[in-house]
Subunit: 478 residues, 2 copies
């Protein structure tokens, strides 16, 4: 994004006015459309609000924009054509469709991170650069040769990748499957999207964990699903709760993240898993098992997935490279019965024509390479180290103010702030002080919970980040 | 996909039975699910139907599967658990959701190409391997180094790619735009999907060309849109038809593919473009301009897009690498006002969390490289040559049986078969003889039209392909 050049001699406000005029004339802001507020533009450009006020005044004097009190600043309509001509009312189009906008807190977090890259980031649920296999990927890339064909891919995904996944799933996740039972997706996110869009209908009831990553996804509401809660305790959800929801609401599917659950870190108890499978097979109810974190298990062997003991075929299994290698690869997979894979592959073709073969080939080579196992080993050790840094910092800086259970895998620490506190105020105060996290209400919990991700921030940033958070919390508590 | 090994000594039917047993026990076909018909499985495995009959008999004798007349062969339920337990009824789930399945002819074509890779392919609307910049991509890949960060990408797309696109659009498409007006997508397909899902609501009326690529996309119907037709003649659509549809049906958007339209090859007349823009600005009606083919123009300069003369911001512009470089990259772009880009980026994050950075970086480097212009030059010459090969073959083998207009760009030749002919019969007959094309009805036209793509088949295959088609046509005409 353009920012003013402080060394070029021209006044900053004039540079801003010129840039806006260019953006308006190129159609980024068509006639009649709303411009960013003075406050927001100042934040984006890293200038004082008064500079933006001058820039807007300049454009107003040229007749390019108009401000009306209460309705903000808009691009003038008359400057750009004779009266009867007009531009489509884009803002009305932009509220059409059945797609709900993202959760406000998540939009706020994205916006804040976009404007201020120096924020200490306990919010983004992903690995820092150092934890991703960047060198390994570079070295695979440089040996990567495409054959003569670079056309539309098989709608189920690149065949060699599906073959590599069959071995990977067998070796690392104790899942026996076949190539035709695998659909390669743009991360777990797209697997969830395809399931909610194609296997369920508006009005259907589904059960999700409480708290749950799923609450952060408006896709469930966009699909018109009715959501019912399965409370998560230290051993995960209770199978009996599913029976109750089934009786009462005829739930049609259950979404679980049983290993190192996001956000709580809970692992579903083995005995509960067995009962769960008995129960769902009695009810003929499918489970979606979202399993992105297992291979981060800090102990030697990660818990095997429910899918590995699913003899009756009740489980749709979802995996991804995002949390164990790199989220920017956008490679995930779904293991499902043939009829489901066919249906989802068909629908997905209509949405995007499938994934690029480039990252798929890379992912396949990485799985088969000698880099894979050592990468995982290193990832686990580093995550464990960072988890401990975070916990140490919290104990030192926050003491009794927050409570948590120590997670044995995953990227997140789920904390209860003891005194009563307002989520939104705490978030804004933290941003002001240079640190960011996700308020627990994003995951459907009550106010006063906080999710800290320790995978994203650098090791050196963890302590200062918690110090800033502690100051923010104390400020809000007054 | 597994196929029997004719040299391993074990009878083929036994190998098939063993493989099916494995696939069943791994959950590809859960208890109660339907197995492929004998005919279909024989086709998939390249064996006689009688061999599959033997394999199914073997599995039946073991109690693994059951056949009931009229309802096909299913995986036995009782083999796999005590009576009250059962698997979710996956086939019922697979018909849920609001996503319509693909057009039957297109499914049939995909299936036929999947089973028989030696079919001469006049159906797939894409470049053959030789026309894609494969060497260029390999050489860029080997120099491609990622920095330390491989995390979730900017929801609008990789910033350096959006910057490269700003220059590309200016230089090659005479479009002035800004980085923040660009959304990078998984090809034009995803741009269209986002527009239909997020800017329109079920029940909205839209206008599309007739015939049109859009008819091949059930996404329009899945979004609940009402489609109205704008007949295409040799100069494209007639603007007055839009006014009539607006009056009668209050259409909310117009979808056009004005340069080398798929399937007709028509180019929208310049004078009609000017009238079109006047009209839509009078009505405040947005146009979606889908422009994947322009840079294939066989003459020196491709017609500039409507977007380049759109001073009022009525046009959403869609581009893609698919037809000018490689469809397997899955990189496309949308140019739109700020508010629209924001809305679509937000929705798209919920669907797939954005594109992989790997192909985006590659695409950006390719655009900026010295490879790009020479690649386009070579592509144009080769496409022109292949077009002429096809036309020559058609004139020689089919004479008066088909009529067409010679296209000046794009990948397709649109033909009217003179005598009355049944689309489905002709397609099956052609497949049987080893050639495949797309029946015109897929694009919404009456029976008796055929789309031949000359970009995909090898030069050596064009004449033999048309000979097979001619034989098929003569067989159907009787
Ligand atoms: C539980 C869970 N599922 C799915 C996802 C989506 O990840 P991706 O699409 O990158 O695989 C996330 C990301 O935070 C997650 O935490
Ligand atoms: C007119 C038109 N638009 C869009 C597409 C989709 O192409 P892609 O998603 O590969 O860019 C095609 C492909 O055939 C097309 O012909």
């Amino acid at each position: 994004m353009w920012t003013p050049d402080r060394s070029n001699g021209q006044p900053i406000y004039q540079q801003i006015a010129d840039d806006l005029e260019r953006r308006i004339s190129y159609g980024e802001f068509p006639p009649g459309s709303l411009l960013p507020s003075e406050r927001k533009l100042a934040e984006q450009l890293g200038v004082n609000r008064s500079t933006v006020i001058l820039a807007y005044a300049e454009l107003r004097s040229l007749g390019i924009i108009e401000s009306r009190s209460g309705s903000g600043t808009r691009v003038s309509k008359y400057k750009w054509g004779a009266t009867p001509k007009h531009t489509p009312n884009w803002s009305r189009y932009a509220v059409g469709g059945s797609f709900l906008p993202n959760v406000p807190f998540l939009r706020r977090i994205r916006e804040a991170l976009g404007h201020n890259p120096s924020l200490i980031d306990f919010a983004s649920g992903e690995l820092e650069g150092d934890l991703s296999p960047v060198e390994e990927i570079n070295s695979l890339l440089s040996g990567n040769h495409f054959n003569s064909y670079l056309g539309y891919d098989n709608p189920h995904g690149y065949t060699p990748l599906r073959q590599s996944l069959v071995s990977y799933l067998h070796k690392y996740r104790q899942i026996q499957t076949t190539e035709s039972s695998i659909l390669v997706t743009s991360g777990s996110q797209q697997s969830l999207y395809l399931i909610t869009q194609c296997l369920l209908s508006p009005g259907d009831a589904v059960a999700i964990e409480d708290p749950s990553y799923c609450y952060s996804l408006p896709m469930f509401q966009s699909a018109g699903l009715r959501l019912f809660r399965l409370p998560v305790d230290s051993k995960g959800i209770k199978p009996e709760d599913i029976r109750a929801l089934y009786k009462k609401h005829r739930i049609k599917m259950v979404f679980l993240n049983p290993n190192f659950q996001n956000p709580t870190g809970a692992v579903l108890d083995p005995e509960r898993r067995a009962r769960l499978l008995d129960l769902v097979s009695e009810l003929g109810l499918p489970i979606v098992e979202d399993d992105p974190f297992s291979l981060t298990a800090y102990e030697e062997t990660p818990p095997p997935p429910i899918k590995s003991i699913d003899t009756l075929g009740s489980v749709l299994y979802i995996g991804s490279f995002s949390k164990m290698a790199a989220s920017g690869l956008r490679v995930g997979w779904l293991v499902a019965p043939h009829s489901v894979v066919e249906r989802l592959a068909d629908a997905r073709q209509q949405m995007d024509f499938g994934l690029s073969v480039v990252p798929q080939k890379l992912a396949s080579q990485f799985l088969n390479s000698d880099y894979f196992a050592p990468h995982l080993e290193r990832l686990r050790l580093r995550l464990l180290y960072k988890r401990d840094l975070l916990i140490e910092a919290i104990r030192a800086e926050l003491g009794d103010l927050v409570k948590f259970t120590v997670p044995q895998g995953g990227l997140h620490l789920w904390c209860k702030v003891k005194p009563e506190v307002n989520d939104g105020k705490l978030l804004e105060e933290a941003i002001r002080r240079g640190v960011i996290f996700v308020p627990g209400s994003v995951y459907g919990s009550d106010s006063g919970y906080v999710r800290f991700t320790y995978a994203r921030a650098g090791e050196q940033q963890i302590r200062p980040g918690i110090m800033k958070f502690a100051a923010a919390l104390r400020a809000v508590l007054g």
